[in-house]
């Protein structure tokens, strides 16, 4: 390993995201190269400083004050739920029904036949035939609503919508659609307003899982496409129409670690090493945006991929 490669991978090493096959080479290089070892040591020492820096200490009476306020809140009469709350929830549900409708259309037999793989390995078939249960898909069953019974009796689609908190407004939902939607999860929090759409492609080790997540602060993603190398005809294609921006995650496994790249950070200059272990099934992913184009490729199973980012405008010039 050269010093340049070592330094590029140093941060990944420190967050335990360096792919297995690189770790040994990295550590070997560190053992042999004084300069790189020194740089690694400096990074570790700065982290050590952060770890050792004392946390702000709360006043001694803070706990008692919080408990007194909590007790008062417990004994306060609960306010009536305003009718507008139901209107908002109904509006949000209507959006979901519409979205599921799009998914049902995409699941039409003709479309499915066109997308179906000619041959599917046995282990994939098992995973593909298994439909997720309500319990599996309802991640936050605070308000569980089984919605959108499909109008297509042959291929019933199931949508389980979890609303952990009241959706603030249906207007906050971005436009989106994904082919063959099987489940939809809407998550709302003030950290990240996100919409996650999982594709109906076989889950588990047999196939890709596509997630499109939208956060308001990110930008530029227009389309995303994942091709499945082992089932080339089963193209999972998704178009995320995002006006103000998005964060795009392409993930195959349930741990959602295949590819993640936050396009909001415009530090992608030259070659950036992504903290990703790309699945053997995903061979190619192309992310296009207004100004950035990234091509992710891999062919080796469980290999770390390198994300090559280039400024499309600069290239044109």
């Amino acid at each position: 390993m050269e010093c340049r490669q070592c330094q590029e991978r140093m941060d990944l090493y420190l967050v335990e995201a360096l792919a297995g096959r690189w770790i040994e080479q990295f550590e070997q290089h560190i053992a042999e190269c004084q300069d790189c070892a020194h740089e690694l040591q400096q990074k570790q020492q700065l982290l050590e400083l952060l770890h050792r820096l004392p946390a702000p200490t709360p006043p001694e009476d803070l706990s008692a004050r919080i408990k007194a306020a909590a007790e008062a809140q417990l004994h306060r009469p609960q306010p009536q739920v305003r009718p507008v709350y139901y209107v908002k929830v109904a509006a949000a549900c209507a959006v979901v029904v519409l979205a599921v409708g799009v998914g049902v259309v995409w699941r039409a037999p003709s479309v499915r036949q066109a997308l179906a793989p000619p041959t599917v390995p046995a282990e994939m078939t098992m995973a593909a035939e298994r439909q997720p249960t309500v319990a599996e898909t309802a991640t936050l069953p605070t308000v569980k609503t089984a919605l959108a019974k499909p109008e297509e009796p042959a291929e019933p689609a199931t949508a389980v919508v979890s609303l952990p908190y009241a959706l603030r407004s249906s207007a906050e939902r971005p436009e989106w659609h994904v082919a063959s939607i099987e489940s939809i999860t809407l998550e709302t929090s003030s950290v990240e307003e996100s919409v996650t759409a999982e594709s109906a492609a076989p889950k588990g080790p047999a196939g890709p899982e596509l997630k499109l997540a939208r956060v308001p602060s990110a930008r530029l993603v227009r389309t995303a496409e994942v091709r499945n190398a082992q089932m080339p005809t089963n193209l999972v294609k998704a178009a995320a129409r995002v006006d103000t921006g998005s964060q795009l995650s392409l993930a195959r496994t349930e741990s959602a670690q295949a590819v993640q790249e936050d396009l909001a950070a415009r530090t992608l200059v030259g070659t950036v090493v992504a903290n990703a272990v790309l699945s053997q099934y995903v061979r190619e992913a192309v992310i296009e945006s207004d100004k950035t184009m990234m091509a992710l490729t891999t062919s080796a199973p469980n290999s770390m991929i390198e994300v090559t980012a280039r400024d499309a405008e600069a290239e044109v010039e």
Partner: protein, 236 residues
Amino acid sequence: MRIREVDDETISPSQVFVEENNDGDRPLAEASAAQNIDDNVLVKAAQQGDAEAFGILVDRYHSQIYGMVGRMCGTDEAEDLTQDVFLKALKALRRFQFHGAASFRTWLYRIGVNEAINELRQRKRRRQVMGPSLDEPVLTDDGLVQRQLSDTTEEPYRLTVQNELQQVVHKVLEMLTEKQRTALVLIDLQGLTYEEAAGVLACPLGTLKSRLVRARGVFAEKFREHQPQWTPNEVI
């Protein structure tokens, strides 16, 4: 003294302790036993309106939440924010359910992060309207200078260095984006695991690590700009 484990979800934590002998140290023993009650039991009791159970959760986590929001937003607002976090948690507690590895602490941290970010956004808006606060440190050629004098009554040198480092760290944290700052605070300052922090932020583990890598890079660069003389051996 032996403490019986609670096996009924409806039992209040106040009923958890059964004193087998009367040796006169009941309050201490109860306090000690309270610390050993599983979050799950406390949450379920609190969901049924048990204020004492919620109080134990407050005792258990208020320092962590205070530390986190203090590091995110500074300590001036940390008390109010911490109280808000627990009151919001209490309000939403009935909807909380344990899911696999998801813990009450993770959920509480998530509320805390939301509160901190809301505070930062409000502060940003206020600053745009009213200009910088007079209490904020002043950036000079010598780095950041606090307008208030440091408390140096105890261990003056160590506290001065520590205080200065904390100020610089806080100032540099302010230069990070919300997401970067949150990742850095949760993992490198609060000591959450990657998995916990990803749970708090409801994002994939890889995304979290990606943010952390960027956050550390920006932090290191800015920290060295503001504190070029810092050496790792410096007293903390």
